[in-house]
Amino acid sequence: MSEFLQQLVNGVTWGSVYALIALGYTMVYGILRLINFAHGDVYMLGAFFGFFAARFLNAARDPSPFKALLVLLSAMVACGIIGIVMERAAYKPVRRSSRLAALITAIGVSLLLENGGILLFGPDPKFFPQIIPARNIALGMGVTISNQQILILSVSLVLMFALRFIVLHTRTGKAMQAVSYNPMAAALMGISVDRIVTFTFMLGSMLAAAAGVLVALQNPKIEPLMGIMPGLKAFVAAVLGGIGNIPGAVLGGLVMGIAEVLVVGYVSPTYRDAIAFVLLIVILLVRPAGILGRNVAEKV
Amino acid sequence: MNPDVLLEVDRVTMQFGGLKAVADLQLEIGRGELVGLIGPNGAGKTTVFNFVTGVYAPTVGRVLFEGRAIQGLRPHAIAKRGVTRTFQNIRLFASRCCRDNVLIAAHHHATAGLSDALLRNRRFAEDERGMRDRADELLGVMGLTEWADTRATELPYGQQRRLEIARALAGRPRLLLLDEPAAGLNPQESEQLMRLIEDVRRRFELTILLIEHDMKVVMGICRRIAVLDYGIKIAEGTPDQIRSDPRVIEAYLGEEVTVPRAKGS
């Protein structure tokens, strides 16, 4: 039992990271119907920007919560800018082309970030400094949670609520919803679709950056290809929850994180990468639009 | 069951979420008839086409074609039984030429199988030639011969409407459903099309159900007209009966209201 609970704690922690990345996928998809394959690589960049920020602040020798926050914010800002540049330079020119053309562009951007990363950061792993030294907190029944896990969970939670607030209660957030539902009608409201799309990319990239830094705090090995698998799985999580649906992304992320940890713990860790997809296929066959997605009948 | 009834819509209700698009509709179409289905925008006319052709399964009720229930069948199966249609918003196969558009609709009459096609044997060649000849004949009937090798989307609008009809005919239907074939046509084109529809009906011994906004077209060629409003059949009868039915006039023109004139007039 205690083992199961411990696995659950680990699973929820991972799930919240998947959820943060999945949110970016889902927002961009909701607005552009584009699978932004490069999103996982933005997560990687987030970890690296955090790494450089931490090094600049000398946070390893002299850690403090303030510096940790600074590291997180600078990574988010840097990736936000990357998101804007990515959208303007690569995606905007293909927005009116076929969706497949946009997809291939996204793949190109993804490869560019990965290989550019290898070129700039070197292929060997870097190790994220211990800004927040690990401490274990016993939860009873033999279950422990580390302060880092708590941090991951709470920061993700704060960010998710911040996102929720932005989307539901700010002018720009409402405009985002409008654009995602019908860009043409949104333009008639005086909403600049271009700006909203750029803003969405920025927001998604910032969340991915946060995920990158949070993961690096706990699992400090960072390298230029670290974004591929989490990116892919977060995307699956987004589809699982119903792509384009923000609560769905969070739910999908959690389901994914828990399912993975349970498979690793009770079946075989070697099937870790497969479980995500088995789960996905099963759920999609039962609910073709994802757990929270709505099926829209095509108008004839 | 009356053998002269080709299609019977038997108390069909079609519900989308909270919206009843069609409510308790009863409609019979006799063999060889040309029936008009009219009503204001959003009255549920296209929905009728959609459940007859299997795009949707009716929420309640049955659809009988030649006495056999077809509700709930997949559209291609219904097409094979002899019901084909055109679409209000023109759904041509955009990347293909006109002849291909027609050939695709003749698809289920092909006799050569996949292996014949891959081997390019005589059977395939004959089958293909037969289908091509028939497609070209249909294009000829619809006056599209000169466009046969043109991509469907490069056709002028009026020709696209005709191509949709030619395509629907290629499936050798016994019941043809035409969804606003004259929409977007000018009066002369409408006029021509009307004659063409009559002509086609006689030539291929068809039964036709026609949705149309252009009253001239409907009143001109239909002997019998059914009127839908809010998913309910509010009238059915000859063109003259329909024209003078006050409920129809109200549904169509709206009540005559007296509101003050706008300034500047």
Binding site: M189 | P40, D214, G254, V259, A262
Partner: protein, 234 residues
């Protein structure tokens, strides 16, 4: 105020508007009538900058807006209430209305205008927390009009506001249109309900397959046998 001259618009190979010229003077209600597919909606969309034109010129208060992006055209004071399907079904009725005031910054004024819309359409007030997709067709139809009002445009383009509505509601909507107009807003109205539209308009255009067939004072068009025949058949 608004002048459209010799507009040519293509959808792919389809020539949707063929040299259309239309104008609206300040304070007028001008109506565009015509059968489905005649190009009425296309014309409104082109004016709003949603559809690019291939030739011709659109000017608003003397400014050329032909190539302006849609959201900037809105900024100039041209609002369009598109047909009912273009509501944001995933958002509540209230948010739908608020989006109409997207470009406004005066919080107080927006609230005031919102109340005005609610007074105009009490049913929207009742349902303001409901997502627009769950509203009835008629209520959905009210939203774009309310939205357009919240922006306080100088010119409003209305696309078939009576589409699929019960007669009672149609009358309500037309009364509202008239009120809006009296408040100083110029109206360009696309309608199928020719009778109704012509009865409140000052001038009208009859569109047919992408060009203007007739242009006259509304009262004259109302009496025109050609118009009658086009709408009820011979």
């Amino acid at each position: 105020m608004l002048e459209v001259r010799d507009l040519d618009v293509y959808y792919g190979a389809i020539h949707a508007l063929k040299g259309v010229s239309v104008r609206a003077e300040s304070g007028e209600i001008v109506t565009l009538i015509g059968a489905n597919g005649a190009g009425k909606t296309t014309l409104l969309r082109t004016i709003s900058g949603l559809v690019p034109s291939r030739a011709g010129r659109i000017t608003f208060e003397g400014r050329d807006i032909t190539k302006m992006p849609a959201h900037e055209i809105v900024g100039l004071g041209i609002s369009q209430a598109p047909e009912g399907r273009m509501v944001f079904a995933n958002l509540t009725a209230e948010v739908n209305l608020e989006l109409g005031a997207y470009l406004r910054r005066d919080r107080a004024g927006i609230l005031e205008d919102r109340e005005r819309v609610y007074t105009l359409f009490p049913r929207l007030k009742e349902r303001r927390r409901q997502s627009a997709g769950t509203l009835s067709g008629g209520e959905q139809q009210l939203l774009p009009i309310g939205r357009a009002l919240l922006w306080r445009p100088r010119l409003v383009l209305l696309d078939e506001p009576s589409l699929g509505l019960a007669p009672l509601l149609v009358r309500e909507i037309f009364r509202t249109i008239h009120q809006i107009n009296r408040g100083g807003v110029t109206v360009l109205l696309v309608e199928q309900n020719a009778h109704m539209a012509l009865s409140i308009a000052s001038r009208g255009y009859v569109l047919e397959t992408g060009h203007v067939r007739l242009e006259d004072r509304a009262s004259a068009l109302l009496e025109n046998p050609e118009v009658k025949s086009a709408y009820l058949g011979g």
